[in-house]
C-alpha cells in the first residue's frame, strides 16, 4: 500500500487520497491555438520511473499535493504543495 506523507496531516495510506493528474504539464495560454490545447488535454508521457503528479487528500485535509512517485516501484520520494518542486525542496 502506497503511503503518502501529507505536509499538513503526516503519513497516510493512499486510500485517503485520490490520484489527480500529471503535474508536469503546463497549461496553455487562454488564447493558445487549438492544437496546443489538444496536445495539453490528450497527450501524456508514460514514463517508467520517476513521475511528478498531483494527488488530492480527499479524505484528509483536502489539500492538493504534488507527489514524486516512481511508476515502477511506487516509491514516493517527495511530497510538496502544488507550487513547490522536488529540486527546490531538497
Amino acid at each position: 500500500m502506497i503511503r503518502i506523507n501529507c505536509p499538513y496531516c503526516g503519513e497516510r495510506e493512499h486510500s485517503e487520497f485520490t490520484y489527480g493528474e500529471d503535474a508536469t504539464r503546463t497549461t496553455p495560454d487562454n488564447d493558445a491555438p487549438m492544437e496546443e490545447w489538444n496536445k495539453f488535454v490528450y497527450e501524456r508521457d508514460n514514463p517508467a520511473g520517476e513521475h511528478i503528479e498531483y494527488w488530492h487528500h480527499a479524505f484528509g485535509c483536502r489539500a492538493w499535493l504534488k507527489v514524486q512517485r516512481n511508476t515502477i516501484t511506487h516509491d514516493i520520494s517527495w511530497v510538496g504543495l502544488p507550487h513547490e518542486n522536488p529540486e527546490a525542496a531538497s
Partner: protein, 989 residues
C-alpha cells in the same frame, strides 16, 4: 485401511468427534482433518479435478493438492479446503468433493479411461482451447455445463455466509513471515530491541520442520527450546504472534497481507501489516517425484509421512516404502522403522548414497535399492505395492522391473524454498544447482530471506542467518537485536540431491496433482509450441491450483527445460503473484456487507417521509422518496397523480441531495466566470443564474444554479451525482491552476436541508408559511433570491424552477429543515399540497425538457443539448478552446430531441436505439438513443428525451425506438424537447 493411531505425537488427550460424509469418526485435540482421516483409516478422500482419479492426503501442509474437502454445511460450507490445514473441532462436518455417488466408487472416473483410450483428446493439455472451440453456440448449451459437471471442484454454498469477518490494520517495525526455527529466533532476537515485531505462521502450531522431529526423550531439549521460544514471544508486550495466519502477499510500501483463521464469533481476520523491515523465514516445501500413478492415495511426501507419525501420532501405513533422489527422506524410513513399523524398501535414484545412510538402513534391516526408481504405484484404490526398476546410468531407461509390497509410499524429489513473498518484492528468483531449486537472488529493499526459504536447510545454519537478519534489520531501525539461545541440537541441511525430474517409464505421471496435469501434458505443450513457462502455465493450467505450484512448478519447468534442451536457469520460473494461498472473499469484504456495504445518507426530512408512507429509492448514497402512494396505488398511479397535482395546484419535494458549495472572496466572481460558460460577474446581488460547466475537452461537465448573496459571496448548487467531484475540481482549480485568485470554497451540502415548492399555488402556500417575506412578483421575481428567518431557522429562498411551474427552492438550516418543511405543508393544506418524489420530479423535468445526468453523460457537447448560445463570447472559460473542434460541432451529431409515442399508451423504453426502419435488425442504422422517459399526464401520452443524429432539424419526423433484446419497436414522433410551456410563461407568473 492402512493408517492408524500410533503414539501420542504432540497432540492433546481430549477426544473429538467429527464426521466424514456423515460417517462418525474420532480425532484428538490438535489433529488436522488430514491426520484424523488417516488415523481413521481413510485413504480415498476425494476425486481429482478432470480425470476423477481417487485422491488421498499427499502432504501435511499448505501444499496439499489431493485431500481437498468441504468443511461445514449450509451457509457455513467452505469448499476446496485443504484437509492438512483445517483443525478438527468438536462436531465438525467434513465432506468429500467431486465424487458421485462416493469417493470410492465414482461414475465420472470414465474420464480417465477416455484419456487413456484417446490420448491427447479429452482433457489433455490445452483442452479448454481446443475441444470446445466450435461451434460456439454449443458452449453455453453443452460444453460449459458438461465441463462444470465433470471437472468440478467443491460446490459453493447457495445461501449467504452467516459468518463474520473482520479487517485489521497493523503497524510494526519488523515482520517475520514463518514460525519455524529461523523465524522464531529472528522474532525473539528482534523483539529484545524493543521494536514492534509481528510473526506469522499459517499452522496452528509454530515450529515449522521441528514438528517433523520425533517427540522423543532424545529430542526433549529441542522440543523444550521450541516451547520456550514461543512462550517468550507470547510473553513479550511488543510482539504479536499470529498463528493460523497465512501471509499471502506483499505489496507496495512493505505492506503484508494475511488471512487469519480464528475460533469464536469471527471466523477470519484479514490483516494488513505495514512493516518497516521484513524477514522471510517461510521455509521450504518438499517436491514430489514424477512417476506412474504418483497421485494414488497413500503416495505422500516423505516429510508429511514423518510429521503424521511424529507430530500427529498417526502412522500413515502398516508397511512403508521410500522413494527419493536426496538424503532427507531417509529419516522418514528410520523414524517409521524405529517406531516399529515395517519399512519394505528405500528406493534411491542415486548411485552412491552416503555411508551413514547406507548404514542406517542396514542396521534397521531396511532393503536399500540404489540407482533405482519407482516406475509405478499399484493398487485398485490406494497403494498396495510398487513396481521398481533399475535406472540406466544415463537416466534414460529402466530395466529389471520388480514388485515391492507396501501400503504407503513416501517420496521426496528435493526441497523448494518458499520464495514467493520475497519475489513479490519485484526480484525474480534464480536457480541454485546445489539444491536443484530456485532461491532469492537480489533481496528486495528492506527484505531478508533466511533459512530454508533461502535454500539453507541446516537447523543451526538457518538460525544463524535469521539472527544476522534480525541484527541488521534492528540496526537499520536504530535498535539492537538481542542474543538468543540457539537450538540445542543441529540438523544437517545438505540433501546431496541428484535431480530426477521424471521417471523414464510409461503410466500416468502427474506433475500438478490437483489440476491433473501430467508430464505428458508438459511434453505436449512443448510440441505444440507453448514453450515459455508462462505459456505452459496457461495452456495446461499447471500451478493454478490451491497450492499455486508449490509442489509442481519446479518439476514442470525442469521437464520443459529438458524438452527445449536448455538449462533450468534459462527456462526460468513463472512470475509469483499474490495471493499465494486460497483466501476467503469474506475477509476482504469484512463487515462491509449487505446494508453496510456503503454508508446511507439521509436527509433531515427522512422521518417525515417515512411517516407519510414514502417508498424510498437509493440515489447515489442518498435515500430519497421515490413516490408517496395512497391506498391501492401503483407506482405509475402515484407519480401520475403527483405530477398532475403539481401542474394544477402545488407540491413539495425534498431536494436536499443537491451539492451545495459556498464560494467566497474578492475574486469569487472572476473564478465563476472561468469555470462556468456563462457570465457570473454581471450577476446582481440577490439574483440566481443557471450555469453550465465544461471539462477541459469541451464536454459538458455539470450544471446547477448559483446565487449571489453578496459582492464576494456566491452559493452554488450542483447535481446530486457531481456534488463530490465538482467540489474537488473547484479546489484543484484554485490550488493548482489559479493560486493567484483570492477565493475560498467550502462544501455546505450538509448545512442546508432543501425543498422545492412547485405549482400554481406555490406563491400562496409560501406566503401563508412565511408571512414576513414578500413573495410578490415585483419584490421577488423569477430568479430572485431572498434571505429570511423563521422560528430560529435561517432560510434562503430561490425562485427557480426545475418543473416548469412557478416554483421556489427553500433552503433551511439542517436542524430546522423538518420544521420548515412541516410549516410549508401546514400552510399548503389550504391548497391541497402534496409531497412528491423522485419519479414525479423526473416526469416534470422531462415534460419541461430539462436535462439531468441521464442526458449529461460525459459525451454531450453544449450544441447537443441546445445550450451553445449560453456560452459567453466575451470571456475565456474552461473548455472553450476544445469545444470548437470539428467533431464537437458537427451537424450530424446526435442532438437532444423530444419523442412522443404515436400510440400514446405505449411506453418508450429508456436505452432504446432510434432507427428509421419499422423492424430493426442487427446492423440497422442506429441514429440515436433514448435517455429518459415518462408518462405525461399533461399530454396524455408517453414521452421521452433522446439524442438523434441531426435531431434539431428533424422535428415532425416519425421514427422507431427499438429495444431488440425485449422485442420492442415503438413508433415515435420527433418533437421539441420542451413538451410543456415552451415559452416559459408559467415560471414567471
Amino acid at each position: 485401511m492402512s493408517g492408524f493411531r500410533h503414539g501420542a505425537g504432540r497432540l492433546g488427550d481430549a477426544q473429538l468427534n467429527f464426521t466424514f460424509d456423515g460417517k462418525p469418526m474420532l480425532a484428538r485435540a490438535g489433529d488436522t482433518v488430514a491426520s484424523a482421516l488417516l488415523a481413521n483409516g481413510v485413504e480415498v478422500v476425494g476425486r481429482s479435478f478432470k480425470y476423477h482419479r481417487p485422491r488421498g492426503v499427499t502432504s501435511s501442509g499448505p501444499e496439499e493438492a489431493g485431500a481437498l474437502v468441504t468443511i461445514g454445511a449450509g451457509g457455513k460450507a467452505d469448499p476446496n479446503a485443504r484437509a492438512t490445514m483445517e483443525p478438527v473441532t468438536q462436531g465438525l462436518e467434513v465432506f468429500s468433493q467431486n465424487c458421485f455417488p462416493s469417493p470410492k466408487f465414482d461414475l465420472m472416473s470414465v474420464n480417465g479411461l477416455a484419456g487413456a483410450i484417446l490420448p491427447g483428446s479429452l482433457f489433455s493439455a490445452g483442452f479448454y482451447y481446443k475441444t470446445f472451440m466450435w461451434p460456439a453456440a454449443l458452449w453455453y448449451k453443452f460444453y460449459e455445463p458438461s465441463i462444470r459437471a465433470a471437472a468440478g471442484m467443491g460446490v459453493p454454498p447457495k445461501v449467504a455466509d452467516p459468518d463474520i469477518y473482520d479487517r485489521i490494520q497493523m503497524f510494526c517495525d519488523v515482520a517475520v513471515v514463518g514460525g519455524g526455527s529461523a523465524g522464531l529466533s529472528a522474532a525473539l532476537s528482534a523483539s529484545q530491541s524493543g521494536l514492534r515485531v509481528v510473526i506469522f505462521d499459517e499452522h496452528n502450531d509454530l515450529g515449522g520442520q521441528l514438528l517433523n522431529e520425533a517427540n522423543s526423550d532424545q529430542n526433549a531439549d529441542l522440543e523444550q527450546w521450541r516451547k520456550d521460544t514461543i512462550a517468550a514471544l507470547e510473553a513479550a508486550d511488543n510482539v504479536t504472534v499470529l498463528a493460523r495466519a497465512v501471509c499471502w502477499g506483499r505489496f507496495d510500501g512493505n505492506m503484508l497481507a494475511a488471512h487469519q483463521s480464528v475460533d469464536g464469533k469471527v471466523r477470519q481476520n484479514y490483516i494488513k501489516v505495514q512493516a518497516k523491515k521484513i524477514i522471510i523465514a517461510a521455509g521450504a516445501i518438499e517436491r514430489p517425484l514424477v512417476f506412474g500413478n504418483n497421485d494414488k492415495p497413500n503416495v505422500m511426501l516423505a516429510s508429511a509421512a514423518r510429521r503424521m507419525l511424529n507430530h500427529y501420532g498417526t502412522a500413515t501405513g502398516k508397511m512403508l516404502a521410500v522413494f527419493t533422489n536426496n538424503d532427507s527422506a531417509y529419516q522418514t524410513a528410520f523414524d517409521y522403522s524405529d517406531a516399529g513399523i515395517k519399512v519394505s524398501a528405500v528406493v534411491d535414484s542415486r548411485q552412491y548414497p552416503s555411508e551413514a545412510l547406507v548404514d542406517g538402513c542396514m542396521s534397521r534391516g531396511i532393503t536399500l535399492h540404489t540407482q533405482a526408481v519407482v516406475t509405478e504405484a499399484k493398487g485398485w484404490q490406494a497403494v498396495r505395492s510398487i513396481e521398481i526398476a533399475d535406472l540406466a546410468a544415463n537416466g534414460q531407461s529402466v530395466s529389471n522391473r520388480r514388485r515391492v509390497a507396501c501400503d504407503v509410499l513416501a517420496h521426496s524429489g528435493g526441497w523448494t524454498p518458499q520464495v514467493q513473498m520475497a519475489a513479490h518484492g519485484g526480484k525474480p528468483p534464480i536457480y541454485d544447482k546445489t539444491i536443484a531449486a530456485f532461491v532469492v537472488g537480489d533481496q528486495a529493499p528492506d527484505t531478508y530471506s533466511v533459512g530454508a526459504a533461502e535454500g539453507e536447510n541446516g537447523l543451526l545454519a538457518g538460525v544463524a542467518q535469521a539472527l544476522e537478519a534480525a541484527k541488521a534489520a534492528c540496526a537499520e531501525l536504530g535498535g539492537t537485536a538481542g542474543a538468543v539461545t540457539a537450538p540445542p541440537q543441529d540438523r544437517d541441511g545438505a540433501t546431496n540431491i541428484v535431480p530426477l525430474w521424471s521417471v523414464p517409464a510409461k503410466g500416468k505421471q502427474l506433475v500438478d496433482i490437483q489440476h491433473d496435469v501430467t508430464a505428458a501434458d508438459v511434453v505436449q505443450s512443448h510440441s505444440e509450441g507453448f514453450v515459455s513457462v508462462e505459456h505452459l502455465k496457461r495452456y495446461t493450467t499447471l500451478g493454478m491450483a490451491n497450492d499455486q505450484g508449490r509442489t509442481s512448478n519446479v518439476n514442470a519447468l525442469a521437464i520443459m527445460a529438458e524438452c527445449r534442451g536448455v538449462s533450468i536457469a534459462e527456462a526460468g520460473t513463472t512470475r509469483f503473484r499474490a495471493p499465494i494461498a486460497p483466501v476467503s472473499m469474506g475477509g476482504f469484504a469484512g463487515r462491509e456487507i449487505g446494508k453496510h456495504f456503503k454508508p446511507v445518507r439521509r436527509t433531515p426530512m427522512q422521518e417525515w417521509h417515512e411517516k407519510a408512507g414514502a417508498v424510498f429509492v437509493q440515489a447515489g448514497m442518498y435515500m430519497r422518496p421515490q413516490y408517496y402512494p395512497q391506498a391501492g396505488e401503483t407506482i405509475d398511479d402515484a407519480y401520475e397523480r403527483e405530477t398532475e397535482h403539481v401542474r394544477k395546484k402545488v407540491g413539495i419535494c425534498d431536494v436536499t441531495s443537491l451539492g451545495k458549495i459556498e464560494i467566497v472572496g474578492p475574486d469569487a466572481a472572476e473564478f465563476l466566470d472561468r469555470v462556468y460558460i456563462n457570465m457570473f460577474s454581471t450577476l446582481k446581488v440577490g439574483k440566481a443564474r443557471y450555469g453550465v460547466m465544461l471539462r477541459e475537452d469541451g464536454i459538458v461537465y455539470d450544471d446547477g444554479t448559483t446565487s449571489r448573496f453578496a459582492e464576494d459571496r456566491f452559493f452554488m448548487t450542483t447535481t446530486t451525482a457531481k456534488a463530490g467531484p465538482v467540489m474537488a475540481y473547484l479546489e484543484r482549480c484554485l490550488e493548482i491552476d489559479w493560486p493567484e485568485l483570492k477565493v475560498r470554497v467550502s462544501s455546505v451540502s450538509e448545512r442546508w436541508g432543501a425543498m422545492a415548492v412547485a405549482g400554481p399555488d406555490a406563491r400562496a402556500t409560501l406566503t401563508a408559511a412565511f408571512p414576513s417575506v414578500d413573495f410578490s412578483n415585483e419584490a421577488f421575481p423569477f430568479m430572485g433570491v431572498v434571505h429570511a428567518e423563521h422560528n430560529g431557522a435561517k432560510l434562503v429562498i430561490l425562485r427557480i424552477s426545475f418543473s416548469g411551474e412557478m416554483a421556489y427552492e427553500v433552503y433551511a438550516t439542517s436542524e430546522h429543515a423538518t420544521d420548515i418543511w412541516q410549516t410549508v405543508v401546514d400552510a399548503g393544506q389550504a391548497y391541497d399540497i402534496v409531497p412528491y418524489g423522485l419519479e414525479t420530479l423526473g416526469a416534470l423535468r422531462i415534460e419541461k425538457g430539462h436535462v439531468t445526468g441521464a442526458e449529461l453523460d460525459g459525451r454531450v457537447t453544449l450544441g447537443d443539448v441546445h445550450m451553445d448560445g449560453m456560452a459567453s463570447k466575451k470571456k475565456w472559460f474552461v473548455g472553450k478552446n476544445l469545444k470548437q473542434r470539428e467533431g464537437m460541432v458537427h451537424p450530424d451529431r446526435p442532438q437532444l430531441v423530444g419523442l412522443k409515442s404515436v400510440d400514446p399508451r405505449t411506453p418508450i423504453s429508456t436505452g432504446s436505439i432510434l432507427v428509421t426502419e419499422a423492424n430493426a435488425t442487427a446492423g440497422a442504422d442506429k441514429q440515436g438513443w433514448v435517455s429518459s422517459m415518462t408518462y405525461s399526464p399533461e399530454l396524455g401520452s408517453f414521452i421521452a428525451l433522446g439524442f438523434l443524429r441531426g435531431g434539431k432539424d428533424r422535428i415532425g419526423e416519425r421514427i422507431y425506438a427499438a429495444y431488440p433484446v425485449k422485442g420492442k419497436n415503438v413508433e415515435v414522433e420527433v418533437v421539441s424537447n420542451h413538451f410543456v410551456d415552451p415559452t416559459n410563461d408559467r415560471v414567471k407568473g
